[in-house]
Symmetry: D2
Subunit: 266 residues, 4 copies
């Protein structure tokens, strides 16, 4: 299934060189003001803007609201948003069929779907669908800012490394010089969460976040808090001493998640 | 929810110092021979046997079948298995209530459940529940060996490092000397999978595996294939060249998963 | 949630007087030929065609395929279909807001969604969304006809009564004379099913069918086989004697469902 | 799957002549007082007590709590409850294998599970499992009475007819004289619900209730409000006029459910 979430459920659909990609979002409460402007900043961040090294494909990526909104406000009914594909050159992809691209789903999708997959530009497997993930994120973030949900939750993501370089310009230079894609590391910090989000075991915060993060094509690893460095640590070093009854800890090796549940940390 | 799986669904329950922990497994096909002996090896591996440095808690961990089996064979009905807790000293834990242990769910569970949590030995958050995960794995692995499912699938997990040492004895020595718990790294290799397992995006192989793996307490990171090392690579280095129509690749940086789908690799 | 199905999952969306209503269908296998013509007959049946007494609202109801199809064939990716709303006169509905219609969701939806609901023509609660249900049914029926699935399964539904009249013309006359809507009874027969579809208890055939059928607005009751008449019968009258090893029964009071599972019956 | 519910999820398991049947309940909030006494009344009602015509099988049906409770209070962890089977005579059932009982799952279960089903007394398909449904209901009802949930919700079920007789003693006499099982009609009234429970279409109140009700073996039909009698009515007769802003209606043909959502009705 291409869906995620039990109460706030995200369904994404569409193909890289189809008419559009999109989002069907079920479970969003009624009464959330939502319009085009809410989406522009995050959509632009995804595109990479005029940044050097970004994909040459240029799309407007303006959300087209098909359901679930009335007078620029959510109604409680499922929300459907389309993003049109305009900058497609499908002809270019016919030749790819015979030669599946390494590192792409061309070969595996062909085997799985018996040759019926839309192979143009990766079809449904394209990174293009991440625009629908961004749209879902925009709505989720705005929900967290509403009166009822307001707990000063902030979600901030930054690029830590490009091509092994902490100096991002230098990393981009390497990629541009090589005329190749490069790897990188992104850090995401969420602050202001209430204590106790998440569930024991299968719905632990780490389980749910990693499930969603690995839905993003090309992600190869994830770590929380100290992450893999914890493998070299003793318990006494790693475990974050609790300082007071508010749950404040002296260190944050656990990434603010203990027992699969969120723990406050300044 | 403490469940995982859409077709073969695992529910785990129980508390560290309750009467038992257990497994309720729905969706297991009828006709799979299953008895006590099938579980012994993996349960023993989880306990650490007589290995130095293992937990001092000793339990028989013999599965008690409560439903879903008839004449030592699965019936197609939900399977319930209990593991009794015998080696418990709950009195010891009363004092812990006032002082939540760092690195454990004591504090977060208390906040989440308003003080109603079973706090003895971590209660439902205890690593003790992993015996139920092992039991589910035993059944899953045996299913893969049945006539219908037989594709020579092998699942092998090994400890790569303990306390930063590739020499596991040396790592254990460090832990024992420090009288502390230590971190480590485990590698899991699955071979013999058919091509095309997994789904696009949210049900990618990486999403589902990481979801399940982070259900195991104390896991701090996961990587597939080259993992975090891919962050320093160019596309031309990382992408595994496909050698022939069988899907064989020249390298395996992707961990045998492309586009979220399994890809054969010898 | 406005979705149904665990493996073949139907999501419907849209509003009566929005731009469109639609279907997002996840889990449909790849390789099913599908085009506009497949939908026309069933969509026309839903509209009531030129039948006397049908709704005056006239829509083309031509499916617009947005995702999941390539070369008129399903790809295995989620299928999105839109049906445009053209014949809407939203202005007419402003006045309804102050006076919720009896027998419609106007009042309950207003209370549930705090006044943010799209109230025009019932909004998301409109019977208009059943066109999306029909579209899902078209695809499901065609799947059953494919080589792999072909078991001569036939699904036939007939109107048994209109306004208490078995003579449907007479029933329509009564409704037209009264200038009112009228009740009726529909019978659905499914033949050619394999034995054993359905699951014990919660996923019994009756549970799943009734769940879906009551998603249709205005349905007030459902019965299987002898239905409510069984309330007056003894076991010996009701229970269908099994005649031979094929499962053929002498009568069919159970509606072809025993223990929640499908049973062959000629 | 033998489970029901998205937030409060009921899993039932066990076999008629196995060691026990039981309930695994996930999603029950922490802090609900719960002990043996809470279950006795409803369990006794299910057994039929000393009522004439009840099943001769006598079981204690005392709930045995295996997980999720601590100090007679729910902890927020999954709740597991067993009911032991003591009054079983499995030997009697060997002969049934060759002659599947009409009106029971013997034949269909055999076909579905390839002969691996536990055939003793219906195995997992036995009405015996309804004791687990009753246990889930006990917990749900008690939750509704807690401070947070208290809205004076009352759930009352009554037998309206036995063997076609509104005089229940007379109906029982007929059954006893015939030495046969008989049909009947049960009415369930729920009062005190808040307005707006349920969701549009697939999660309508009728969809969810009927899904659960048809999980009970031998149920052949369900109707809401006027039910099948609505088939003979005009809209003007059937639709319940709304009297005031509280949602009070002049009649209740809709069974207190409009647009799939609950509507207050005195």
């Amino acid at each position: 299934m291409n869906s995620f979430g039990r109460i706030f459920r995200v369904n994404i659909f569409g193909e890289s060189h189809g008419e559009s990609v999109g989002l069907n979002l079920d479970g969003c409460p009624a009464g959330l003001a939502l319009n085009l402007d809410d989406f522009l900043e995050d959509i632009k961040r995804r595109q990479g803007g005029n940044q050097r090294g970004a994909t040459p494909r240029k799309e407007d990526d303006l959300p087209i609201f098909k359901s679930g909104l009335f007078n620029d406000t959510t109604t409680g009914a499922p929300i459907t948003i389309l993003f049109e594909n305009k900058n497609t050159r499908s002809g270019d992809y016919e030749k790819l069929r015979a030669v599946p691209r390494p590192g792409h789903a061309d070969f595996t999708a062909h085997a799985k779907f018996g040759g019926y997959e839309d192979f143009r530009g990766g079809g449904h497997f394209s990174g293009r669908l991440t625009v629908a993930l961004v749209a879902a994120g925009v709505i989720a973030k705005k929900l967290l800012k509403t009166a009822e949900g307001d707990t000063n939750i902030e979600v901030v993501a930054n690029i830590l490394e490009i091509a092994g370089e902490a100096d991002l310009e230098k990393g981009l230079d390497k990629a541009i010089a090589a005329k190749d894609s490069v790897g990188g590391i992104v850090e995401c910090r969420v602050t202001g969460l209430p204590i106790g989000l998440g569930e024991h075991f299968f719905d632990s915060v780490e389980s749910l976040i990693s499930h969603a993060v690995f839905a993003i094509p090309a992600v190869r690893g994830i770590e929380f808090g100290t992450g893999f460095a914890a493998a070299k640590m003793f318990g006494v070093e790693h475990n974050d001493a609790i300082l007071d009854a508010s749950g404040k800890t002296a260190s944050n090796h656990a990434g603010g998640i203990v027992g699969g549940l969120s723990l406050i940390h300044i």
